[in-house]
Point group: C2
Chain length 408, copies 2
């Protein structure tokens, strides 16, 4: 059974016209009947015609009075909390993050736990159930009051089924029926599973730098490299859920061998592992005095953050490594800018903590190599939400999927 | 004034729910109330509730009886011809193509004319007016009966305003108000201007190989190289209208100088001019006996078609040139497949006439270099509509823009 098909029965059914209103109410801004009419380009009478039945059905509610702007105060509208609650779940390679929230995605509480994703789905989902129950108990909520669960996982996802598809380094997860497992314990919940980078992009889109940005690329630079794509205000997943797999775009045809089997992929040149390996080499050979010193005094594996710190101290070898990495990332992004012409590129993930010199190089390369028209309206920034992007995205996805219009 | 804003007043106003129905009726298939309900996943009663006022307003009409499938025949529905007629206009570097069609984009008649796009907008639009009047006269139609005009131009377009933006080799066209000029003569028409490659992609999407394909890339390989992008069933234009500018993606960092100022762009390696130049070299030096012979006997500039013909005769130098070009195009497309994960890539434009060996190489490179998941559902084909793709797309765009729902 298709997971979304199964989930669909539990969704709140709305018409396409009603969806226009609901989508607006899910935005974090204050909304009245008047602002709805203005923003949608429709008459106030039309808004009232659509909103009144939604209020009667207990889906929409009057939440208070708007800030005064002359005359009497208009009532603000929002999603009725009686609809139920949401869970956001963010599985990382070594961590689990669970958030309990209102249907407007305002978090009530959050809990972290250590996991090993390589321990497999039974163990990891078991940990989720236990963490989630603690959150529910704290608010005296029942599992049946959860109406939506958004789950982020660190691998490629067949979105319509909610299954991971041939994920690397995740034994046991391939085709594992996550939605079925969760729906069995949460009988009233719509369950949606997505790739973690897609959810980071969605988090930024709904609550971060990406708000109201139609076309955006969220680039996660970590030990793996991937992109979340926002196309006309919607997360874009591609035909088999692998869109944004940009870590294996070839930048140097004769470059180093990559774990994918090709040579010169971006990940093999500028991924977290590549930067760490080069940093270790610079430390051990003494080419970088600052990295040598960090390595000797702290006795641990060096990271992109160390390289950034060394560069900030004027360490020449570290500066070169930062610039080189920025150059590779900038070249790959130039391809994407030419093809996709986004309004915004956000860079997140561990490597993005390398510092602002790196971002500067990325920007320079793109401005130099892409056409002036394609960069006319382009901003390139570090991610705003940082490590919270994924969990915010998971809640947003749960919320979106809870409201179903006829064509979805 | 924003061209679409100006045009909006002349559009047929419909609600979001009505748009669901209209969009279905614009597809080329036979549609009844029953198939509408099934395809939209709604009740037959809901369809009737939405369709009845559309019929009363003269927008939708019963067009006949559907093929019998047991019981009495259901009535098929379509857009009412009384709504008005459409013009599709395709400006090329040296040609103009105008098509007159019903609101369902069934062409009534078509006319070609020779132009030079470099003569500037006054002269080229003058030619359009004269050709279009001949078409209207033949059917005793008035200009006021034209309700939509879709115009394709060979350069980057600011879609919301309908203006060309810094087009190369098109003096006088930059920021020229094409929509205003046309609307002055066609008082009832919605006028939309778009880039020619976008319209080719739209033509394939509505009436060609791309029907019902959610995510597609149409790659035009000509003297210039560009891509039209279909994202979730809609043409994607990017933040400043330059999406799909893939001819200047760098494939060989130390490659030949490109007219854009960078080195090793795809266009400088595998564009029509690059292939023609290499073919001439092979002919003059005698490295390719077959191309030498064509050059001597026909005394004209060699093209990609000649190279394809020579390769088909087993000419070794021509075979190498075909394979090399296929390789470069395949490498660029691999980047796009990794990022965009489309269902379909269609290749059109003059260079695509080089033959099937070229397509074979393109396919091999992509299968070898992209991840298995990203190519799982991917087809790569030559364009079906060929040179008609642009004009079919122009008519489809005119038709789409004629029906306006509240949020567009």
């Amino acid at each position: 059974m298709n997971a979304l098909q199964g989930a669909r029965d539990k969704r709140v059914r709305i018409t396409a016209d009603e969806k226009l209103i609901i989508d607006r109410l899910l935005l974090p801004e204050e909304t009245t009947r008047t602002t709805l009419a203005r923003n949608l380009g429709v008459s106030p009478a039309w808004v009232t015609k659509i909103v009144t039945p939604l209020i009667k059905r207990g889906i929409v509610t009057e939440t208070g009075a708007a800030k005064k702007s002359g005359g009497r105060r208009a009532r603000t509208l929002g999603i009725n909390k009686g609809v139920g609650y949401l869970l956001g779940v963010d599985f990382g390679a070594t961590s689990l993050n669970v958030s309990l929230a209102s249907p407007n995605t305002e978090p009530l509480a959050e809990k972290h736990a250590a996991i090993k994703i390589s321990d497999g789905p039974e163990q990891c989902l078991g940990m989720f159930f236990s963490v989630a129950d603690q959150l529910l108990d704290a608010f005296s909520l029942q599992r049946s009051q959860i109406r939506g669960i958004g789950v982020g996982v660190p691998g490629p996802v067949d979105f319509s089924r909610g299954f991971l598809t041939s994920p690397p380094i995740m034994p046991g997860w391939d085709n594992y029926p996550i939605p079925g497992e969760l729906m069995a314990s949460y009988p009233e919940a719509v369950v949606v599973v997505d790739n973690d980078v897609n959810l980071m992009a969605l988090g930024e889109l709904r609550r971060g730098e990406g708000q109201y940005v139609p076309n955006m690329i969220f680039l996660k630079l970590g030990s793996d490299i991937g992109a979340g794509i926002v196309c006309e205000g919607q997360i874009y997943r591609g035909s088999s859920g692998s869109a944004g797999d940009v870590g294996h775009i070839v930048i140097e045809r004769e470059g180093p061998l990559c774990r994918c089997g090709n040579r010169g992929c971006l990940e093999a040149l500028a991924g977290g592992m590549a930067i760490a390996a080069e940093a270790s080499r610079l430390a051990v050979t003494g080419e970088s005095p600052v990295l040598s010193e960090i390595y000797r005094s702290e006795g641990r594996v060096l990271t992109a953050v160390d390289v950034g710190a060394a560069a900030a101290q004027g360490d020449l070898a570290a500066l070169t490594l930062v610039d080189q990495s920025g150059h590779y990332v900038g070249e790959m992004l130039t391809h994407l800018v030419s093809f996709f012409n986004p309004d915004l590129i956000l860079i997140g993930g561990g490597v993005s903590k390398i510092g602002h010199r790196f971002l500067n190089t990325v920007r320079q390369v793109i401005l130099q190599k892409a056409s002036p028209l394609s960069t006319r309206d382009l901003s390139i920034k570090y991610s705003d939400l940082g490590e919270r992007a994924g969990i915010v995205g998971a809640l947003s996805l749960a919320q979106e999927m809870l409201f179903a219009s006829p064509v979805e």
